[in-house]
């Protein structure tokens, strides 16, 4: 019995140690203090601005052997040739575990010569990386210490236009048309719908916008049995617009919903305002009696 109890205790201890080994120290980077944004795509208009890098270090059971190293690369976090150090936050600083620093876009190494911030038709990517060296389980800093690496933040300067969306099909119904499309390209954000009455001298006006992943966009408030001409345009996260898609002509047509069929087939109309009002009043009196009635004694 005692042997059994010892074995059981050992098993529990082993399971506990295994479970805690799965809980590792983490180093998280983000563009916002809430820790959710890890990608920033921008265009020419943001060239003179800067961005903030927020970090959060959870040491769990291990302490730091070095400060927090933050660097930028134009290739990847593992590429040493393109690595340019940004900041070193010593481990004895109050903001070592969590803090932020501001980085000017103009200081990023990828913006050189013809590829300066402001260049047209280019896509320049930078990766912000972080790392902390850890003490071993005995609290020592080794020659080859273990390290905790952060996730990667992407800073993308983009002035290339996405490709035009492809219109797959369209359908018109009551006062409304729906166009199904496919949109592809890097860092896509939205698809815009422009339209006007066919043959009119008016300019095309924006009639709708949707997230590019939805694959369908609608315009409403149209006059039935009147042809309209439409085109689509993709927009990426940096605000670059694609060329216009092909033009498509579509008309909305009257459809019969439940109420249309009800009336067409001779359904009686009429609401119950008087009777409804009376019954509502009855309901209110009913409630008033309930609330006003004295509670019976216990």
């Amino acid at each position: 019995m005692e042997m059994f109890l010892r074995l059981r205790r050992l098993l529990f201890l082993g399971l506990f140690l295994l479970s805690t080994a799965g809980v590792a120290q983490t180093l998280s980077l983000s563009f916002s203090s809430f820790g959710s944004e890890q990608e920033w795509v921008f265009g020419k208009s943001a060239c003179n601005s800067s961005f903030s890098v927020f970090w959060l270090f959870n040491p769990i059971y291990r302490t730091a052997c070095s400060g927090l190293q933050l660097w930028v690369s134009t290739q990847s976090c593992s590429d040493t040739e393109s690595r340019v150090d940004l900041f070193n936050i010593p481990s004895d600083r109050t903001d070592f575990l969590t803090g932020s620093r501001t980085v000017a876009l103009s200081s990023l190494p990828g913006f050189k010569g013809e590829l300066s911030c402001g260049a047209e038709n280019v896509q320049i990517e930078h990766y912000i990386c972080g790392e902390i060296l850890l003490r071993d389980m005995l609290g020592n800093c080794n020659n080859d210490p273990e390290k905790v690496s952060s996730n990667t933040l992407s800073v993308v300067y983009k002035t290339t236009a996405p490709p035009a969306p492809l219109i797959n099909s369209s359908e018109g119904y009551d006062g409304e048309i729906t166009i199904r499309f496919s949109a592809s390209g890097d860092y896509l954000n939205e698809v815009l719908l422009y339209g006007k009455r066919s043959g009119s001298a008016e300019d095309f006006e924006e009639m709708g916008r949707v997230n590019f992943a939805l694959n369908a966009i609608s315009a409403s408030g149209l006059e039935n049995n009147t042809p309209y001409t439409f085109f689509l345009q993709s927009v990426d996260l940096a605000g670059n617009k694609s060329p216009n898609s092909e033009l498509i002509e579509e008309s909305s047509v009257h459809t019969d919903g439940f109420w249309d069929v009800y009336k067409q087939n001779g359904g009686a109309s009429g609401s119950c305002r008087v009777a409804g009002g009376g019954l509502s009043g009855l309901g209110l009196v009913f409630l008033g009696l309930c609330l006003g009635r004295r509670r019976r004694p216990c």
Binding site: E171, Y173, D174, G175, E176, T178, S220, V253, H254, T255, D256, G257, F258, W259, D260, V261, Y262, K263, Q264, N265, G266, G267, A268, S269, G270, S271, C272, R273, A275, G276, L279, S280, L282, G283, F286, L287, C290, R293, R295, R296, C298
Partner: protein, 230 residues
Amino acid sequence: MLSFAFLCALSSGVLGQTPEMPSRQDFALELRLGPYRPHVDKAFPPGEGPYRQLFGKKRMLLSEAELDWQFFHGFGSLGVGIASGYAEVYGKALIGGEPSLQTTSLKIIPIKFLFVWRMDIFANHFDIPLVPYGKVGLMLNHWWSTKGGKTSEAAGEKARGWRSGYLGVAGIAVQLDAFERQLAKDFQASMGINHSYVFAEYAFEQVKSFGKAGINLSAGHWMFGLAFEF
């Protein structure tokens, strides 16, 4: 007298129990749902009913909540209550008689004012956990129909309004206390819930605004749910 008091105290001490006091019971709460299809098409010749044409054989799922105030406990309990719920059904609008991609719907909010009689003496006094009950009352249904996400309009009339009527309900509830007495006691002590039930009921509703012209929202339908008395 003193020796009697002494014996009572002794028995309480030995048994470690105090006599149970029946707790007050003033309210009942019901949560229920069931299939529901209003008799809209009864006013039309066969094959021309708009409900069948647009929604086919689909039934709505009606969900409701009811709160009763039990003002009398004697031979069963008598109470007055108010209930409300929501039901909707969707279909495809027609172009030339054929379904399009545009959605049309019918939506209903019923509001009911009820008198409720629960025959709970079997459950509360004879350990038979069945409680038959009946309800009668008046009701108001708010309804509206949409097409393409907006309230429809046809022949200059908006597709929305109110219809009134009356209803009768017959049902049977199974008192769950009998199956787990200790849990029921704990429920009462911690949350003040005296009894809990599962139930099934059939509702007969005449909602035609007492003969006034308009959409027929009458229905006969089953509902199933949970009830709590507290």
